[in-house]
């Protein structure tokens, strides 16, 4: 088994901030818009370095999305910043018409996704955003797993021509992917080779999947681990190859099972290689207040839940 080391817990939103800071220096067409959450989104450095390219729109997300669409006309690459809830559900029609249908090169950068937002509770913990965004034609949907990967993804989406939804979070989590690694949109990352079951995870659940694989290894079960940072376009080929090899899969995500990564994987498998699949995801529910760890445990979004699901999937082979 490959060993992955946590180099020190960091929040993925800080990875976004670091990426945006670097982009500010390397790409003068990058502009940033924020709806009164500059500190929470870690956009302070960009604002400090490039005040003329930073646009504080106030608590007015609909206007922010429309402005971002308009700013692309003339060659700018707008990055919008607010919480995932206010980046999607609140502004769905603005994104749909002015950005997605209009084919605008806007990067919707969404922090505090999922239950790990914590104590603020369900009003702020969106578990439906991946589904909302992946349903929009032409929208690229990315959910990164750690600080390093979020930074790399931020840099990569600036080079991609078209609308992108980049989802990340608030809590400090294990930072284990390569520093300054490459980020290929739409390409799964093979973290572990295995033969009995494939664990397909996104976002904060990727580290949990690695922990689960270790635990399973201890019990004599060989688990393959795929890090799916890009939910759309999905890396069909890697998923099918893995399913053919191991014969069953577990998907894991901090999102409702309806509309999430799991459903995207299920569609690919149903069409091309029907395979037993178990879902680690929230069960069509809202979140609640609590610490991130408490919530991940309560909603069954951890290594233990993945191990259990893996055994179930294997039994269904």
């Amino acid at each position: 088994m490959k060993k992955y080391t946590d180099t020190g817990k960091k929040d993925t939103r800080s990875g976004f901030g670091a990426g945006l800071t670097a982009l500010g220096k390397s790409n003068e067409n990058v502009v940033a818009l924020c709806a009164d959450l500059t500190g929470s989104l870690k956009m302070d450095a960009f604002k400090e370095n490039h005040p003329e390219r930073f646009f504080q729109v106030g608590i007015a997300e609909a206007n922010m999305m429309g402005m971002a669409a308009g700013m692309t006309i003339g060659g700018k690459i707008p990055f919008t910043g607010t919480f995932a809830n206010f980046s999607t559900g609140r502004v769905y029609d603005q994104i749909r018409q002015s950005i997605a249908y209009s084919g605008k090169n806007v990067k919707i950068c969404a922090s505090h996704a999922g239950v790990t937002l914590g104590e603020d509770g369900a009003t702020h913990q969106i578990l439906e955003d991946i589904g909302l965004m992946k349903m929009l034609p032409g929208m690229t949907v990315i959910n990164t797993c750690d600080y390093n990967q979020t930074k790399a993804a931020t840099l990569a989406i600036a080079e991609h021509d078209g609308p992108v939804y980049l989802r990340f979070g608030r809590p400090k989590v294990a930072n284990f992917t390569q520093e300054d690694g490459t980020f290929e949109i739409g390409k799964a990352v093979h973290l572990q080779e295995g033969s009995d079951v494939t664990l397909i995870a996104t976002g904060h659940l990727v580290w949990e999947a690695l922990q689960a694989a270790e635990q399973l290894h201890g019990e004599g079960i060989s688990a393959e681990v795929l890090n799916i940072h890009t939910i759309k376009p999905l890396d069909d080929a890697s998923i099918i190859a893995a399913a053919k090899k191991t014969g069953c899969v577990v998907t894991a995500e901090e999102h409702n099972y309806l509309g999430g990564l799991g459903e995207s994987v299920a569609r690919v498998l149903a069409l091309q290689h029907p395979t037993p699949q178990e879902f680690v995801a929230t069960d069509d529910t809202f979140g609640e207040s609590g610490t991130p760890d408490e919530l991940m445990d309560k909603y069954g979004l951890n290594a233990e839940a993945i191990v259990k699901a893996a055994k179930k999937a294997i039994a269904r082979k």
């Binding site: 106030g58 609909a62 206007n63 402005m67 700013m71 692309t72 006309i73 003339g74 018409q97």
Partner: protein, 281 residues
């Protein structure tokens, strides 16, 4: 000096285009389109600094965004007659496989369109974004946009209106088509918006009115006045008083023709009131 007679002749032809587009497919929005014919002709023929051809980025030229996308028939007619695409293509309005969708879109690649609109209330925000980019690019050209009056019931507008004044977006002229009508009736009956001039002023905009928005000379004079007020650290709002269905007696002063096509007989009567000037497509 603008040749008013020539522009008025084009307006009559645009009215015919609107009526014939909507009649042919038995759907679309003639009322608001007819009311804004003078505005569109004045804008594209006299006001806007435009380059030949079409580029999405529109660098070095004035840009226009239509927020109330349902008045696409007037937009398409004036775009075609201003050289953006063949006038014959108006025949395809709302048909399958057409670039002339029910509501304007960039999705089918129609030259002249820079953003999709139809779901209301989004145009001012997009226009502000484009205006900010003009400033970043040191591009000294203007952004124009048109909104319906009923459309101002959408909250996003007021986010945008607040932003534009606070951020001194002074390369922007927002025109409001004040025809006083919306789908369910008059704006006064559906949701009165009170003193719009006062509201824009209170938000920090420079507001002017064109009392007769269906008089070409008055529209031109008002738009030129609006243009002269740009560059003064304040966004400019034009309240354009128009008559819905203008130029067709049975369509005027009512919301009934907001989204309804004339039948054969009605078309004949409407066209008879607007004799061909530049030639039908």
């Amino acid at each position: 000096m603008a040749d008013i007679k020539k522009l008025e002749a084009l307006v009559v032809q645009v009215r015919r285009d609107i009526l014939r587009q909507v009649h042919r497919v038995n759907s679309g929005h003639p009322g608001g389109s007819l009311g804004c014919a003078e505005f569109f002709v004045a804008l594209y023929q006299e006001m806007m600094a435009r380059k030949d051809g079409f580029s999405m980025d529109g660098i070095g030229e004035d840009l226009f965004f239509l927020s109330n996308g349902h008045i696409s028939p007037v937009f398409y007619s004036v775009l075609a007659r201003s050289g953006y695409f063949p006038v014959d293509e108006l025949n395809t309005f709302r048909h399958i496989n057409s670039r002339l969708q029910g509501h304007p879109t960039t999705h089918e690649g129609l030259p002249g369109i820079r953003v999709a609109s139809g779901s209301l209330g989004q145009g001012i925000s997009v226009a502000i974004g484009a205006a900010e980019t003009k400033k970043l690019n040191n591009d000294n050209h203007l952004i124009y946009t048109l909104c319906g009056d009923g459309e101002l019931q959408e909250g996003q507008n007021w986010e945008a209106i607040m932003y534009a004044a606070a951020n001194q977006i002074d390369n922007l002229i927002v025109t409001i088509d004040l025809n006083g009508q919306q789908i369910d009736g008059s704006t006064e009956n559906v949701l009165p918006m009170g003193n719009l001039a006062g509201k824009f002023s209170a938000f920090g905009w420079d507001v002017l009115s064109i009392e007769n928005g269906n008089d070409m000379a008055a529209v031109l004079e008002g738009l030129k006045e609006a243009k002269s007020r740009t560059g003064n650290k304040t966004p400019v709002c034009v309240l354009l008083h128009t008559v819905m269905g203008n130029g067709v007696d049975f369509m005027m002063h009512t919301h009934a023709w907001h989204g309804k096509a004339p039948n054969d007989e009605q078309l004949e009567s409407a066209l008879a009131q607007n004799p061909e000037t530049l030639g039908d497509y």
